[in-house]
């Protein structure tokens, strides 16, 4: 399975742990990641605030570079913002011949061109969950994360907005209540907390605009996870990791709280479950140290009473859940979980 790989600016240094752990787990699953040649910044949420056509051209250069290799028709973006910008640009160019023509005229000035729809842009989580699949992952788990209570945190741009060229799959997971990461962590053996804020926004660059507002957003997320007795938060976006991790200290000081909620990447968790060395997965890069929490792996941790909810005999029945993850339950049955 070979793909174009668009790491994005954060994965170079700030989120090097994400890059390193991605590459570490790619190998055992036969994922070949070909870094797009001389890629440039996707513009994040900044470029489009000041320029319209140029922001599409900025992103389109990457799509053009990606399509230079005719064999590779899929681009993986591990960062949610890059993922959104790439797929949004592709879709808008596909839908508007006017925009397509203008962007391509701009690209031509740099000796490039891009035909919209030729690169399928996918988030790393999507590829892991759907192309590798839970079964293959479960097979390779040698050190299940038993005893670890994890709050899966998706953030916003991976599941919103729903846009895709194909009407069959507007968004690869539910925009309000996604479950793929939850299921993945369960397959890795962890106890997954029903984290209600899992698709809430971390605030993006808000820390640089108004720190009070930013801290409020972070506080909601960290407190939410702590209220559910989560040991750590697992995320899939470098911006989210940076905000929740690096600003947790300042947030604590602002509110007078003492949260110590480590934030790791899902690829790091996969690596750990596969028995890989923590250091090789970039663990230790976090500002809120994850090691004390990780020491729990392999150790039975009693679950606090309040977290358990036993149905009361007098209680009225609840409506049954809407079936949206039948596959996962089937696989879990087959692998005896």
């Amino acid at each position: 399975m070979k793909y174009n790989y668009f790491p994005g600016c954060s994965l170079e240094k700030n989120a090097a742990a994400y890059d390193v752990s991605t590459k570490a787990i790619a190998d055992p699953f036969g994922l070949e990641l070909v870094e797009i040649e001389d890629w440039n910044c996707c513009g994040a949420t900044e470029y489009i605030s000041l320029n319209l056509l140029a922001s599409y051209a900025l992103v389109a250069r990457n799509l053009a570079q990606a399509s230079k290799n005719k064999d590779l028709t899929q681009t993986i973006a591990p960062c949610s913002a890059c993922y959104l910008n790439l797929r949004k640009t592709d879709k808008y160019m596909y839908e508007s011949s006017d925009l397509n023509q203008k962007v391509n005229t701009a690209l031509a000035a740099g000796g490039l061109s891009y035909k919209p729809g030729t690169q399928k842009v996918r988030h790393l989580l999507d590829v892991v969950v759907n192309d590798i699949g839970f079964e293959k992952i479960a097979e390779k788990v040698t050190k299940p994360l038993t005893g670890l209570r994890i709050a899966p945190y998706y953030g916003c741009m991976i599941v919103r907005p729903e846009l895709s060229i194909s009407k069959d799959s507007l968004s690869f997971d539910d925009p309000e209540h996604p479950t793929t990461l939850d299921e993945l962590l369960k397959v890795l053996g962890a106890e997954v907390v029903d984290y209600p804020l899992k698709a809430n926004c971390c605030g993006g660059h808000m820390t640089q605009i108004n720190d009070v507002t930013a801290f409020e957003l972070l506080h909601r997320l960290i407190k939410g996870a702590a209220d559910y007795q989560a040991d750590l938060i697992v995320t899939l976006c470098p911006m989210c990791q940076f905000n929740l991790d690096a600003f947790q200290g300042p947030m604590n000081r602002h509110f007078g709280t003492k949260f110590s909620m480590p934030v790791l990447y899902f690829t790091q968790m996969i690596g750990l479950a596969l028995g890989m060395d923590a250091k090789k997965l970039g663990i230790g890069d976090e500002l809120i140290d994850a090691r004390p929490v990780l020491a729990k792996i392999g150790v039975q941790v009693p679950i606090p009473e309040s977290a358990k909810k036993r149905p009361d005999k007098e209680a009225l029945p609840m409506p049954s859940p809407l079936k949206n993850s039948e596959n996962i339950s089937k696989i879990k049955e087959e692998i005896g979980q």
């Binding site: 440039n40 994040a44 319209l52 140029a54 839908e95 741009m157 605030g203 108004n210 890069d285």
Partner: protein, 193 residues
Amino acid sequence: MTTIQYTQKNNGKKSFLEEVIELTPGKSNLEMCIQCGTCGGSCPSGADMDHTPRAIFQMIFAGMKDIVLKSNTPWYCVSCYYCTSRCPQEIHITDLMYTIKRIAVKENVYDDTTAPDFSKTFINWVENYGRSFELGLMSIHILKHTRLKVFKITEMGMGMVTKGRMSFTPNKIKGLTDLKAILAKAKELEVAG
């Protein structure tokens, strides 16, 4: 407070509503707004905005351009897309927020320069190196805007350095000349209309 002079067609001059719709990619559906308030209710930073997104739209309909451009609403948008995802009229709210930001910068009308300056600084690095440069961005931004707060984030900054997560020099892409040509052409085309 005087009543609003509401004219859609002002001697053949385009209304603010038309301007916003035209400058937003695709079909934004702005005119379909029923003022239900789902966007204002969903916004994570809504409580800190001068006006909720919904109120901003009503003001656009009323042609209150100055107030809209001076409001902090689009700058406080975190691009979480909850509004866009939940809007019952399928309005591309986040895209509209970007449009308002672009108009504000183009006409140089905003009350608080923090957010526009942040974006401008970010963009400068991208346009001159092809990649973003966090240290450069943060240092310029702090000097311009949050000077007193630099002490608050010193701990964070030091932490990032200690953990090796901070780059000290910007990365330059090989095809920078081409990128500059592309961006220049794009900007030229945009002005041409």
